[in-house]
Amino acid sequence: MSEITTETLTVRDVELTLRRAGEGETLLLLHGANGSMSWLPVFEALAENYHVILPDHPGFGDTEAPGWMDNISDVSYFYLDVIEALGLDQFHLAGHSMGGWIAAEIGVRDAHRIKSLTLISAAGIRVDGTPMGDLFAWSPEETVGHVFAQKSFRDQALAMEPNEAQIEVMLRNRQMAARLCWTPRLHNPDLRKWLHRLDLPTLILWGDSDGIFPEPYAHAYHELIPGSELEVYENCGHVPMAEARDAFLGRLQAFTQGAA
């Protein structure tokens, strides 16, 4: 097992906390509104084949938010600066949920350093007639019911007793997610107009029981991104890295290796 290192990278006025592990082609992982924990089930496994980088977005986890970061567009341009600061070129980019939205926004702005793009249960677009779930209004029990499809994962999530420090991180994550995503809710009305610019190998992974972005969101992304591939996992909610872990890992690795 490769060693995980945590470091901070100064980009503009942000001290960005990021975890690194593994060797090989670089895979940059962008987390969702719930913070970097959603990537944990697969982080080490991915580090066996890739040089994996997992930052805490500004305002999430261990990274402080700068006062000027008001929306996902700001976050996306910021990550273009991060990519330059890290000297990344021909890397794989994968984003989950809100992180998928950020990944798509980065890609439509400048994809020339990106070798492949994977969008998992991604925010960013609205599908009219299929309301997205309201994660800001749900009780903890309702949230778990919408995020996970399988009882074992629901039970596990409900049994979690976060300590004070973890509660503080959860509250900070939630506050920054609201700041960035409350309205327009979890999407950019203009993004659809520009997804055709994603002229690079793109994979869309989704759970058929996602209670936040129901399956039609996956098909809409698939239709809007030319040449994209789509895989939908059965009996899987909003976090395929957990509920469809092995299939997810296999598909992501096969896709990125094929995207040479």
């Binding site: 009780s139 509660i167 509250l171």
Partner: protein
């Protein structure tokens, strides 16, 4: 001490068993629970009560703004305030307040309030609030920008009231090419401003600032907390701003029930005040405290205590002990209010003499007893400073 009559205009015909199916009378309660026939009767009755408060000699009549809820039927309080402006003679007409961050063009509030100020010839009080947390869901406004929007909207309104237009307003959330208010306010330099709040140091400091000296109106806190907030206001004025706060800068909003005896008051008020606290004001934390609306440290304390803020289970007797509701004979109520006045130097009391399901006849009786047997006692009564030992 000045006395105001506040009517929240709850949907008093609410089926109180709604909570067997729905978590709150706010936001998630289907509006099929609202019967317009009942609504018409309630609006009529509540406006009669507000107008009667003027006849009874209250110094002001108060309305406010709430959205998508049985708790208060005034999404647009100016509709009621406009009618009151004509149908009252002496009482100030007070909108306490409009929820500035929820409104996408604050100039409309400046206009609306300027109209009311002109119509009433200055018999008007402007209230500015942030709105309940749940209303950020109801109006789809980002709670993380609540404070920024509040301050920016406030600045725009005050400038619109006091500066000669047209001028541009360059804000982050609000941008106007032309600010040129017609009508200008009647009151110079601008209408009296009150800030209803549940108490935060930031709000108190801001309201107390010498440029503003706004009345801080505390809403729904135990009296021990009210006392702390009021002391803080006075101390900030004295220590940081170098002036002595006037009593008029300190206000309290309080549900009160007066009857012939303590026993009658308890019996008559109990179902209605408990409906008020436990049914109308029932909001789960997720809806009440959207992210960004409240500080992380407050949210953490609530979470660690596993505390539902407005989850029901409030008993009248306990609310009375805490000073969040007071009831009794006129003598009992006078005594409580004397204590409140002496302990904090209260200048403005906003009485909620209708609450929850309290019917018209009991509301009218409550108003009459309060106006004839409680209010006169305080006319000209000054605060008596209580020594620390006596408290």
């Amino acid at each position: 001490m000045d006395f105001f009559f506040f009517n929240l205009m709850p949907y008093g015909a609410l089926d109180l068993d709604y909570d067997k199916k729905y978590a709150s009378a706010n936001l998630v309660l289907p509006n099929s629970y609202y019967d317009p026939e009942e609504g018409h009767k309630l609006y009529t009755r509540y406006m009669d009560e507000l107008e009667y408060a003027d006849e009874l000699g209250f110094d002001g009549v108060c309305v406010n703004e709430h959205h998508q809820t049985a708790y208060g039927m005034m999404p647009t309080p100016a509709v009621i305030a406009g009618a009151l402006a004509r149908n009252t003679k002496n009482a100030k007409v007070c909108v306490l307040g409009r929820a500035l961050p929820l409104i996408n063009n604050p100039l409309m509030v400046a206009e609306e309030f300027a109209m009311l100020d002109n119509i009433t010839a200055g018999r008007f009080v402007a209230g500015f609030v942030r709105g309940l947390g749940v209303e950020y869901h109801a109006m789809n406004i980002n709670p993380a920008f609540s404070l920024e929007r509040f301050h920016e909207a406030h600045d725009l309104i005050i400038r619109a009231w006091t500066e000669t237009g047209p001028f541009p307003f360059e804000g982050k959330h609000y941008n106007m090419q032309y600010v040129n208010l017609w009508p200008r306010p009647y009151t110079k330099p601008h209408p009296e401003v009150w800030i209803p709040s549940q108490g935060s140091e930031e709000t108190i400091r801001w309201a107390a600032h010498p440029d503003r000296r706004y009345t801080y109106l505390n809403v729904y806190s135990p009296f021990s907390a009210v006392e702390g907030f009021m002391e803080q206001y006075r101390r900030v004025c004295e220590d940081d701003y170098g002036y002595e706060a006037e009593d008029r800068q300190l206000g309290l909003a309080l549900p009160i029930y007066v009857a012939e005896t303590d026993e009658i008051a308890a019996r008559e008020a109990k179902p209605h005040i408990e409906a008020f606290f436990n049914k109308f004001l029932r909001i789960p934390n997720e809806l009440l405290l959207p992210p960004g609306y409240t500080s992380i440290s407050s949210l953490k304390a609530i979470r660690l205590a596993k505390r539902e803020m407005l989850g029901g289970g409030k008993e009248m007797e306990r609310m009375n002990d805490l000073g969040m509701f007071i009831y009794g004979s006129a003598a009992t109520v006078r005594e409580r209010l004397e204590e409140f006045q002496d302990r904090v130097g209260l200048g403005q009391l906003c009485t909620l003499l209708q609450f929850g399901t309290l019917p018209h006849d009991l509301t009218m009786k409550n108003m009459e007893l309060f106006a004839t047997e409680v209010m006169p006692h305080f006319r000209g009564r000054e605060r008596r400073l209580v020594s620390a030992a006596a408290q």
